[in-house]
Amino acid sequence: MSTGTTKLDVVVSDVVPVNDLVTRFHFRRRDGELLPTFSGGAHVVVEMRDGGRTRLNPYSLMGSPLDTSEYTISVRRDDVGRGGSLFMHRNVRPGLEMVISYPVNLFSLDLRAKKHLMLAGGIGITPFMAQTAQLAAEGGNFELHYTCRTASLGTYADVLRERYDRRIRLYHDDREERIELDRLLSTQPLGTHLYVCGPAGMINWVRDRAAALGWPPETVHFEHFAAPQPGLPFDVTLAVSGKTIRVDEQQSLLEAIEAAGVDPPYLCRGGVCGQCETNVISHDGKFIHNDHWLSEEDHRSGCKIMPCVSRFEGKSLVLER
């Protein structure tokens, strides 16, 4: 089968600054048709033509799944990141024609839940914008706890408060407000599902406490906002396609493979979906596994790597691609 996702030709219909760090982008289909229906928690991969280089970044859809006349995403500017969010903030203007993927959902609501308890940190709020809209339309039971640095960086906190009132609780770091997690987790009705999206530290904290308090793992859902980490450049040989390529500091291994004209599969580009898994044929050096897909044992074995987020330091690396 061909790899990657089906593409959509869109035009940027609006660009709206939300606060000092976050900007919202609106996309419509170039042919004027409706966009595909999606489900709360889905993301699209946005293709950015940045000079000679193509960047592909995943962003959660934050509009209501009931309205497919446009898609909206919110991008937090990362001044020390690899440049995708900066490109969005600096170069993307209304009228620009872009290509995005069909929606993919790796952070789906469990529709069996009697209640949906949502915890968001910072820009991790975006998938919950769509999920709360979906649940509210069906009369679903949800409660959202949202932590942000300051009130002015509480992206969409006002919108959410206005829409859902007391179902939204806000916590501001600068006022030293913190989610009383243990109390929250131990007072939920049976049949509650927990969803968390935010920085890795927050996700780990919530997952650990939930496990310690006896939440079954299948009721705990999380989405990492794991952007590929920069690192030292390294060389890779691709055995099947017979190419030797260099992975730059700011480039992910997956991006370098794509730049070499090989079309590897992917869905999330964040180390969680498993789609880009690649066999290691030989290596002399050490892996920096940043993914959440492979088991510890896989990591130790040195036989597999997830090129979307993981890196390598050492003398030689040969992959089956």
């Binding site: 595909p36 069909y102 529709l111 069996r112």
Partner: protein, 346 residues
Amino acid sequence: MGITFRKETFRDDFTFRNSPEHIRRFPFPFHEDAYMYAVNIEPHVVGPKGSVLENLIDVDEHYVAEMQDRALVLAEDPLRCQSLPHMTLAGWDLLELLMEQQSLGYPEHFTLTRDGDRWRWINRPLGIDDTFTFGDTSTLPYGPMEYITRQSQGDFCILDQRDGNLWMDAGMVTTQADWSLDFDIGMNFFEWHAPVPLAHEKGIFIRALKFLTNIQQGKPARRLNWTMTVNPRLDTSPENYHKWGPDRATVTPENVGDKVHLRVELQSFWRLPRSNGIVFPIRCYLIKMDELLTQPKWARRLHRVIRDLPDELANYKGLTRYRPTLVEWLSKLDDGSATSPGFGPD
């Protein structure tokens, strides 16, 4: 234009037949003179005009008769259609998919008009003209899945995706080859595949599950599967084994051509957009040996396939009892000449 729907039965007097055009479009599943079990999945894209792949959801001359047979099965056994409470949204997804595809492929027979949430569905072959509110179950005579699958050929399994697995949590299953929704409902992928022999190695199943959980919206996939059935019975369920099981003992050299049917399932796999579930439509095509022999290539090839089938597989497919009779009969149609590559007739 339009399809001429046949009046026929899949039980009692078994008047099911394929017209000559339908024989030629039969999805013959063997592309070479031998059969090997394989995960033969490919993208479900539109195929040649006149083939069963001309549209992504195929409607053919058996449509009306199949829908009548389904209604009879459901009247006797309502458990052939089940949907766990959290699957209603997926049912709406399926309703949209089938209404869209059927009206797109067969505008002379089906029309879908939408005005926001107010939808009107006209199904001319079955004489239905309903207006309803999309998403509001109280505006339809059945739940959304049951409503639309009483009007769509083939079985439908709707799977919920969670915890990295797929769960058979809804379905309309009345034309199955010996399995039961009532038994499998609520099971996950590994549980409902537990009885398959020869493909034992768990590896195949892990790979298949991985593939299926990665099925993307806008990119459906498909595969063909096959078995054989004595008499053109659509409903060969375990619940009804007492009816169709004994048929296998009735095959004689005289009636092979009329009684023995090749049964091909076209399975497709689609991601559903609102629920993020997956649906497998399993479309069943039947052809009797007398019809098959009108395409000499198919008859020659089927002889070689059935003759050389490993015993375990023949057993699994339930052919053991009548295989010698069938092979003997088919051998007379095999002059030993080479068969051309590919599925199609010559």
